[in-house]
């Protein structure tokens, strides 16, 4: 198997931008532990899927060799700027585009100066791969793809990495419960939006620690109990790319303006 490690990372930039705020700093500390685990797995490439990179026509794949520049989040701009520093594994991304297209998922390369790479991808890469020494394949969240379709995409990316003989780390970027505070809060007292969302998140994380079958079984209950981030399709990416996992370590869990966020390392 070409997959050497797999992680769930929060897409909300607050823990990255403001780790001095205790609720967010705890999430960031978990991301540091994930970064150490990622480094130990010595990947040649990161396979990234972020719920925040939205596509509506074709499936999009990042192929710009090196994306740089400033990025300001449209919501969280007051907490600081993000620096884009993302390298693409262009060969592998092109192979994914060809393979996805052959599988009937019309796919396109994205290679444009100043393309607004989404905040989720930037912060996940910033935590795990801060010097961008590991290139990445980055796939968009096409709004018209469902969970199974996203699993399929993940599987395609992993297969293509294997065909190229590459050691790949799977990075799913997205949140847990999506309900957030829509008014100003005291950020030092940030918490999960309500008890129902908190319990649903904890049950889902617990299922992850028991392996991919338990996660699959728990997802319908989670989706009933709370509204998840983008139908939790980022977990479809993990399931498809890894082909299943035996358990997981939850490195951190906490709120991002009420929404659930967690850093999870999946055991392969």
């Amino acid at each position: 198997m070409a997959i050497v490690s797999a992680f769930l990372m929060p897409g909300n930039p607050l823990p990255f931008l403001q780790r001095g705020n205790p609720p967010w700093g705890a999430i960031a500390a978990g991301a540091d532990r994930a970064a150490a685990a990622l480094a130990a797995s010595k990947p040649d490439v990161l396979l990234i899927y972020s719920t925040q990179w939205i596509a509506v026509l074709d499936e999009l794949w990042q192929t710009r060799p090196h994306s740089t520049g400033l990025h300001v989040d449209e919501n969280w701009y007051e907490y600081g700027d993000l620096t884009m520093n993302v390298r693409a594994d262009v060969d592998l991304a092109k192979a994914c585009i060809a393979a996805a297209s052959a599988a009937g998922i019309r796919s396109k390369a994205v290679d444009y100066d100043q393309f607004p790479i989404d905040s989720g991808t930037i912060v996940a890469n910033g935590f795990l791969n801060p010097d961008a020494s590991i290139p990445a394949v980055i796939a968009a969240n096409n709004l018209y793809h469902d969970f199974a379709g996203t699993e399929h995409l993940g599987r395609i990316a992993a297969e293509q990495a294997a065909l190229q003989g590459k050691r790949a780390a799977v990075i799913a970027v997205g949140g847990l419960s999506a309900s957030y505070f829509d008014h100003d809060i005291n950020i030092a007292e940030d918490r999960i939006f309500d008890d129902a969302a908190d319990s649903a998140n904890r049950a889902l994380l617990d299922a992850m620690t028991q392996g991919s079958d338990a996660l699959q079984a728990a997802l319908p209950d989670f989706n009933c109990a709370t509204k998840g981030d983008m139908g939790m399709k980022h977990l479809g990416w993990v399931l498809g790319a890894t082909g299943g996992f035996t358990g997981a370590t939850v490195h951190s869990y906490g709120p991002t303006y009420g929404a659930g966020a967690a850093v999870v390392e999946f055991h392969l």
Binding site: V56, E74, N75, Y77, E78, D81, Y112, F181, D182, H183
Partner: protein
């Protein structure tokens, strides 16, 4: 100081295809043309702006979506390159805009006074969204009139259509109050597509007009029904049907620009002028004007 007033409001949709097809120097990709009837509609709107000589253009854009409240651009000058995340092949535009920060602050304060969460965006590195830029370019390509840029708060999606629309109408009321106190002549721009059913694949030549038509007949019929009511000046009836239109035509007006503008204008019973209607990847786009003052 004379009382400020809203001299006109426009429905001014923002498909980046229209900028692309026009080939302005600011946009990197080059087109063979396309979407001419809609671009000719914008030519008429440009003439109206020329006649009206507004001091400020206020634009509400669904592609600056904010979770915590209603946000206003609050930096005097914003510039940079805006690359559309959905259509990067069509829209890579060098923008440079002057912001009327005084009026933006006044709108923000009035909105807070009416109980809304509202904020000023003060980050000078902020990249203005392509919806705002496209609407402004299409309505006034000279970029010589200061702008108030307003985000689309997520409430119509996060809460429900009624609560979200009510927030937008309150935001409109706040906007009107601020304009009146400012002494300025203002034009409002609702940056919204109507029926938003669209094709899921792009033709190899995006401007190949042999591929362009309404994606959804039901959405088209809804648009025609609503445009006809607007042309008759029956804006209250439009707003009564608004939730149904949004639901059945998957209309982008859900994001709030339209109710914001109509409320700010005081639900005028003057007939709207349709400058033109056309589809872009199958979505319904109308360029319309409500002339409120000479």
């Amino acid at each position: 100081m004379a009382q400020g007033k809203i001299v006109a409001g426009f429905v001014a949709p923002h498909p980046p295809h229209l900028v692309y097809a026009e080939n302005p120097p600011q946009n990197e990709p080059k087109a063979e043309g396309g979407w001419e009837p809609l671009r000719w509609a914008y030519e008429k709107a440009r003439k109206s702006i020329e006649e009206l000589k507004p001091d400020v253009l206020l634009v509400h854009s669904p592609h600056w979506m904010t979770l915590v409240g209603h946000h206003f651009l609050g930096v005097p000058r914003l510039s940079g390159k805006s690359v559309d995340p959905i259509f990067p092949n069509l829209f890579r535009y060098d923008f440079d805009m002057a912001v009327d920060v005084d009026l933006a602050e006044a709108c923000c304060a009035e909105a807070q006074g009416l109980g809304l969460t509202a904020k000023m965006m003060r980050n000078p590195n902020f990249r203005v969204d392509y919806g705002t830029i496209t609407t402004l370019h299409m309505i006034r390509p000279q970029w010589d009139i200061p702008v108030v840029g307003i985000s689309a708060n997520n409430s119509p999606y996060y809460l429900n259509i009624d609560e979200g629309t009510a927030q937008m109408e309150t935001l409109g009321e706040a906007t009107r109050r601020a304009i009146e106190k400012s002494g300025k002549r203002a034009v409002l721009l609702a940056s919204n597509t109507f029926s938003h059913y669209h094709f899921h694949e792009e033709p190899d030549t995006p401007e190949d007009m042999s591929k362009e038509h309404p994606q959804n007949y039901h959405g088209y019929k809804w648009d025609m029904r609503m445009i006809e009511l607007m042309r008759k000046g029956q804006i209250r009836e439009v707003m009564r049907l608004f939730p149904e239109w949004v639901e059945e035509a998957f209309a982008e007006v859900k994001s709030g620009a339209f109710p914001w503008m109509v409320s700010a204008m005081g639900y005028p019973d003057v007939p709207a002028e349709l400058h033109g209607y056309g589809t872009v990847i199958g979505t319904g786009n109308a360029v319309m004007e409500w002339r409120l003052a000479a």
